[in-house]
Amino acid sequence: MSIFVDDDTRVVVQGITGGEGKFHAEQMIEYGTNVVAGAVPGKGGQEAAGVPVYDTVDAAAEEEDANASVIFVPPAFAADAIFEALDADLDLAVAITEGIPTQDMAKVNKRLGETDTRLLGPNCPGIITPGEAKLGILPGNIFADGNVGLVSRSGTLTYQVVDNLTERGIGQTTAIGIGGDPIIGTSFIDALEAFEADTETDAVVMCGEIGGEDEEQAARFIGEHMDTPVAGFIAGRTAPPGKRMGHAGAIVSGSGTGTAESKIDALNDAGVPVGDTPEEVADHIESFL
């Protein structure tokens, strides 16, 4: 079992004729993902990465029965691409694009509340169910099939923690990067709720970072609604206030909100151990299994 994607997921890649889109479409296919189509305006009828390209997502969904999309579209056009995926009634849209204007995402966010499509990202590495499907840019070879779920705001930190798990023989049900932007689709809570409902997931890793209050809210959710054990990691303990640490969302404001301390305290209060190092997170997970 897994959450959100599996070997039945049929993927359309928006922006498949661009450099990134083509490369990662090929990587996804090589991993075994059912990539069934591409969607690029004006490129309908062509072929890319070995799959047919359509002018619209709607046509790709109609003709190839696609139910999920991965978006590799430049920032200026990315919000439009997300709207197109939502309006095509797909089950899932994964937005890899970094640098989408925040006000565009506020409009997308508003529409999300009115559709059944799940959005992952933007500015995220994607999602992988090891051995079944990979939607995004995650390096497939570090993952292994298993019974631990992982949800993270950061790409390379996800890889690091997965590496720590896989190295000691702990595989994953599904790993999800939710993205480092201030406004994102799928939240920690959405992913945790799905892992809680998944019978195969026996433990969950949650990797957060400074900025915002999503980790605190997730901690409350874990305390109130989860029986599956969770181990946490919070990046940015040493980040000074007022300095943006790479991600648009990763900033401790002047008034002290969004600090690592507040997030770690909230998680500890919910009974979630927080590792001081990625290796310690793997220790906690091992002790749960």
Binding site: I142, T156, G246, A248
Partner: protein, 382 residues
């Protein structure tokens, strides 16, 4: 991207928001010319991207020409939290009886813009928010529909603004929202909006307007206003190289890829008893040129005694990264500071094998690499 107060007020004035008379000045002579025209009292305000300018001595009120001259000499050229003051705004003083806070920002949790009005203006609004959150009236705006006029009135009434000026304040709130939307702002704040004894409403004192850097591609006029002020030459250099870089106070230099993992590396340096000198994210891939530039950055920081270079290859292959590192190192016979490298991910083992270990130290895990770099730093600084 932050706008200076004078730039923000220029945009407000163009949109019809009343602001005090003011002039920009770059020398003592220009300040004196300005006060001769504007009269007294006049505020002389440093135009630098620093919070708390007033407390730090960057804002003074002159009541006569001698004071104006003294303050101009004091403020122009002064060092304000690491930034040199080159420009001041000379602004007519406003005789006020009330101060309001008015702001528009993005509520991350709700994913919607929010209007904020408070009658407790003139002080740090974050303190007000923390201590008496009810003193700030809030109204969320549907970003797809935009602002309904009643919402601007509602937030003003809910804040308890005096009835005789409520209409004028609502008009300012409404205009600020329009500016927020039209300019891709992340935050607009006037603190305080002043009410004069004649019951006029003026957007005086401080004005904050921050623009979404991700939207600058469609805001060409605002992009031209960008005045990149760096605290030091290293931050300037990082800007030129296109790195995400933050300088810190320690002595362990850090280079990595991906914000979350670089932050984690900083935290581990601290955890193992060291002190991070910087945050440096070289981003995806690791072309030789970027590696060279990154090494140049940390080597040229006099505070750095030791370096940890941590790359999780992801889609980028470890052997390619290693080639980039070796190529970057070909300029050196000897490294100026010890460097510990750790490669992980795709083809990491192949990469580790070809790394130039004559010059570099290599570790297999993140934890081990950080510990070794911390030890190196202790040895160098001992």
């Amino acid at each position: 991207m932050k706008l200076h107060e004078y730039q923000a007020k220029g945009i407000f004035a163009d949109a019809g928001i009343p602001v005090p008379n003011s002039q920009l000045a770059r020398s003592v002579e220009e300040v004196l010319d300005a006060v001769d025209e504007i009269g007294y009292p006049a505020a002389i305000k440093a135009q630098v991207h620093v919070g708390g300018r007033g407390k730090a001595g960057g804002i003074k009120i002159a009541t006569d020409r001698d004071e104006a001259e003294t303050y101009a000499e004091e403020i122009l050229g002064m060092d304000l939290k690491g930034y040199t003051v080159e420009t001041v705004l000379v602004e007519s003083g406003v005789d006020f009886v009330d101060e309001l806070y008015v702001g528009v920002t993005m509520d991350r949790g709700e994913g919607q813009p929010v209007l904020m009005v408070s009658t407790e203006g003139g002080v740090d609004i974050e303190e007000v928010a923390a201590e008496t959150p009810d003193a700030i009236a809030r109204e969320h705006v549907d970003p797809a529909f935009g602002l309904h006029p009643y919402q601007a009135r509602k937030v003003v009434y809910n804040a308890g603004v005096d009835a005789d000026v409520a209409g004028d304040v609502a008009s300012i709130v409404s205009t600020l929202y329009d500016l927020y939307e039209a300019n891709d702002a992340t935050e607009i704040e006037v603190n305080p909006v002043m009410i004069t004894s004649d019951r006029d409403v003026v957007a005086a004192a401080d004005a904050v307007m921050n623009i979404d850097e991700d939207a600058l591609f469609r805001q060409p006029k605002l992009a031209e206003l960008e005045d990149e002020a760096y605290e030091d030459d290293l931050e300037r250099k990082a800007g030129e190289y296109g790195f995400d870089y933050v300088r810190l106070s320690g002595n362990v230099g850090i280079i990595g890829n991906g914000a979350g993992l670089v932050m984690t590396t900083l935290d581990l340096v601290d955890y193992y008893g060291g002190s991070p000198a910087n945050f440096l994210d070289i981003g995806g891939g690791a072309k030789a040129e970027r590696v060279t530039n990154a090494l140049d950055m940390v080597f040229s920081d006099p505070n750095v005694d030791s370096v940890v270079f941590n790359i999780f290859g992801g889609i980028t292959r470890g052997d390619e990264v290693a080639k980039g590192i070796n190529e970057a190192l070909s300029d050196y016979d000897e490294l100026p500071k010890p460097v510990v490298v750790r490669l992980a991910g795709t083809n990491a083992e192949e990469g580790m094998e070809i790394l130039n270990t004559d010059l570099l130290q290599v570790e297999k895990t993140l934890e081990a690499a950080v510990q070794r770099a911390v030890e190196n730093a202790k040895e160098v600084s001992a």
